[in-house]
């Protein structure tokens, strides 16, 4: 089962788009607008997640 990734992805700008590379098969290209909005959402979600419990819910 995959576990939450602890190593940050690598974002790069090329030819007017943003590529994001990471472990566990992460590989995506976005427009600058989509990347910027994704970035904002990631930061907001990260702030919330930091306040949440890290205990895994029981398997059903």
């Amino acid at each position: 089962m995959l576990r939450p990734e602890t190593i940050a992805g690598v974002a790069a700008a090329q030819d007017g788009v943003v590529t994001l590379d990471g472990r566990d098969g992460l590989a995506i290209t976005m427009t600058p607008e989509a990347a910027a909005e994704t970035g904002r959402r990631l930061i907001a979600a990260a702030a919330l997640a930091a306040l949440q419990s890290t205990e895994e819910p029981p398997l059903e």
Binding site: A12, Q14, D15, V17, T19, D21, G22, R23, D24, G25, L26, A27, I28, T29
Partner: protein, 238 residues
């Protein structure tokens, strides 16, 4: 023999002279097809199967927006759509990547082969299982590897397969695929593939220019790709 690349490097030597002759004599027709042409459409009932003699073809599926995902690349010696013999239709499309030469086998003739030549039949079955093994590896490649790994793996696999049929040597081979093709085989965009190819070149692992692939460091490229060739069942078959 024009069918001489079938299972070359993967157990062809286990075919008797008679079986090789039967395979050769069972060819219904041979034809040339230009590059970038569809040769089989998903869902259409077909009554022939295709042995690729020269060139490359791909199997692909389009999403609802028309974006293509390559699900296999075939090299000379591969039976491209033997699945259609028992299944009668395919669930994917097949198209040429570059100009090709193909041999067509009528399904009635294949039926006769299955009735009279059980060992040859098992070898035909084996060839479809090779496809299945490559599909499993592609699931792994696309599900678990990042962009560099996915592209590196594709080049490693093609090198191995082309070496088996004498079309690659010392890590060099011709490949009629564009960067968009590689992107479609790797679940990436063309820009991402361009970036990956530059990175692999700068790391002195691989170059790909004017349709020529040069693997500069086979071991290191295989490490990036997490590539191990056992799933190709080479070196004389199972």
């Amino acid at each position: 023999m024009i069918s001489g690349k079938f299972l070359l490097g993967r157990g062809r030597h286990e075919l008797s002279d008679e079986e090789q002759r039967v395979l050769e004599d069972s060819i219904g027709s041979v034809r040339q097809v230009a590059a970038r042409k569809q040769i089989v459409r998903a869902g259409v009932i077909i009554d022939t199967s295709t042995l690729l003699l020269e060139g490359f073809v791909c199997r692909y599926m389009d999403d609802r927006d028309g974006q293509r995902q390559l699900v296999a690349v075939h090299v000379p010696g591969d039976f491209v759509d033997l699945h259609a013999f028992p299944m009668r239709r395919l669930d994917h499309d097949i198209a040429t990547l570059g100009p090709v030469k193909i041999a067509c086998y009528d399904h009635q003739t294949l039926e006769t082969i299955t009735e009279r030549y059980p060992h040859l039949t098992r070898k035909l079955w084996f060839s479809t299982l090779l496809d299945a093994a490559m599909h499993r590896e592609w699931i792994f490649r696309l599900g678990r590897l990042g962009a560099e790994g996915r592209v590196a793996h594709l080049f490693c696999e093609l090198n191995e397969r082309l070496e088996m049929v004498g079309l690659a040597a010392d890590g060099r081979y011709m490949l009629p695929m564009t960067q968009p093709d590689i992107a479609e085989a790797s679940g990436l965009t063309g820009v991402h593939v361009n970036r990956v190819l530059r990175s692999l070149r700068e790391k002195n692992l691989l170059t790909f220019k004017a349709n020529e692939v040069c693997i500069l460091d086979r071991k290191a490229l295989a490490a990036v790709a997490e590539f191990e060739p056992q799933y190709l069942y080479g070196s004389n078959g199972p």
